[in-house]
């Protein structure tokens, strides 16, 4: 069955929301993962947390909209994904909740042991979320075993019956690590724009080391994805190849800019890497949303997972009206909190 215009449109919009999420929360999780390494004492770690303090909540909203749009536009995809990956999602949820609490509670007590504990929660939670997202995306690319629901006849009610460990395989673990290191690199570039003095010097060295690891892992990941997976890429493969090429180029430029100490350009180049890597993944997935590793005919596709045309039409109208407003205030908040944070500034978080 051919995908309708609205179905293709919402596939693209869900991709855009995931791009927004990975670009914005990417550096958030990166900062979280780097805090125990770049921050050598309590004060420095507090500065690092404050670089994303005013932004993290708005960034996380993109996750909610990506999930929400998936739910509204492609409910069967949402159902199969969230019920199939249940335990992994609960772990992610626990990490997300813990991370949110860290921002608010960490500095409310002067006890150093209290603060150190929360700093480790921050690191572990950020790492777990980045890793799990990589594993989830890797599984979407690789395909999972889907069987039709016995209570309904045939597609689209298909479910994944494996547990948490069925989601872990060499490719998906690599995918998880790629996300971890790309986010860490993105986070390092962000820290380099928002701090000064000793923290900044340490960040510059760290950024270069992370970039090297990210480069190696990403190259292996992309080559493996295109050459080694039968479920990837699919109908829109040309877009996927082009996006992969642009992402690779952007990643190389990120390294060049890091070496040249130009972190403004490095941040945007790293951001473009993440953006085009996401486009590569989603374009390679289309028209499948969850390919089935036990025979592609069992897959969740854009057509068998979508809502009615009426629903998609209403969603499109609402999106056109409200998303520009969201973009406006989010960009505004970045402009307001533009400056660098000095170590002896008065800190909110």
């Amino acid at each position: 069955m051919e995908a309708t215009f609205l179905q293709i449109l919402w596939f693209i919009l869900v991709t855009v929301l995931f791009i927004g999420f990975f670009f914005l929360e990417g550096f958030d999780y990166g900062v979280g993962m780097l805090t125990p390494f770049i921050g050598k004492n309590d004060r420095e770690r507090r500065v690092l947390i404050n670089t994303i303090g005013p932004h993290w909540d708005g960034n996380e909203v993109w996750l909610l909209t990506a999930g929400g749009a998936s739910f509204a536009a492609f409910p069967h995809f949402y159902a199969t994904l969230f019920s199939g990956f249940y335990v992994a999602l609960v772990l992610m949820l626990l990490a997300l909740i813990s991370r949110a609490v860290v921002f608010e509670y960490r500095s409310k007590n002067d006890d150093l042991k209290w603060r150190k504990t929360w700093d480790w929660v921050f690191f572990i939670a950020s790492f777990v979320i980045a890793l799990l997202w990589g594993v989830a995306v890797g599984n979407l690319m690789k395909g999972v075993e889907l069987t039709p629901d016995p209570n309904f006849n045939g597609a689209p009610y298909v479910y994944h019956h494996g547990g948490l460990f069925s989601l872990l395989s060499p490719f998906t673990i690599l995918s998880g690590l790629v996300f971890v290191f790309l986010f860490a690199m993105h986070g390092a570039n962000f820290i380099a724009l928002k701090t000064e003095g000793e923290i900044l010097e340490r960040t510059k060295k760290t950024a270069w080391n992370i970039w090297i690891v990210a480069l190696v892992l990403t190259v292996i990941f992309v080559v493996w994805a295109f050459a080694g997976l039968d479920t990837f890429p699919n109908s829109a493969s040309i877009i996927s190849y082009i996006a992969a090429a642009i992402a690779a180029l952007a990643l190389i430029f990120t390294g060049l800019y890091i070496k040249k100490d130009d972190f403004k350009k490095a941040f945007w180049a790293g951001g473009l890497t993440i953006i085009f890597a996401t486009i590569m993944v989603f374009a390679g997935l289309f028209p499948y949303l969850i390919p089935a590793s036990n025979g592609l005919e069992n897959s969740i596709t854009v057509t068998n997972a979508s809502s009615s045309e009426y629903t998609l039409t209403v969603m499109s109208i609402v999106a056109v009206l409200l998303v520009p407003l969201v973009l406006f205030y989010q960009i505004w908040s970045y402009k307001v909190f533009k400056g660098r944070i000095k170590v002896d500034d008065e800190l909110e978080y």
Binding site: Y86, V90, L94, V101, Y105, K108, P150, N151, H160
Partner: protein, 116 residues
Amino acid sequence: MVYAGLIMLLVGFLALFKGFVEKKWFLKLAFWTLFLPFIATSFGWIMAEVGRQPFIVYGLLKVKDAASPNIQPSDVWFSLLSMGILYAILIVVEVGLMIKYANKIPEESNVQPEVA
């Protein structure tokens, strides 16, 4: 739940009047209304969630028809227990923090801390 809401509204409304706010008994009563929001929201939710059983969409879809067939009981236990434990830890932490801040004496006041 409804009584809790009405009491809160009444106390809030009366607090607008100086005749009440100056009386000590009123202030003590107002303190106890601090717990009403928690009671009200809890009872409200319990009523909604228990009252709609066995439907998940009232009148249209039963809970047993909406449940995911591939979720194992062990998965659900895991999520229930882990979330429960996390929230239990957070509540202890949060109340601890609130007590710590509630006991702080403002710098400008000349209140002497009570000898324990």
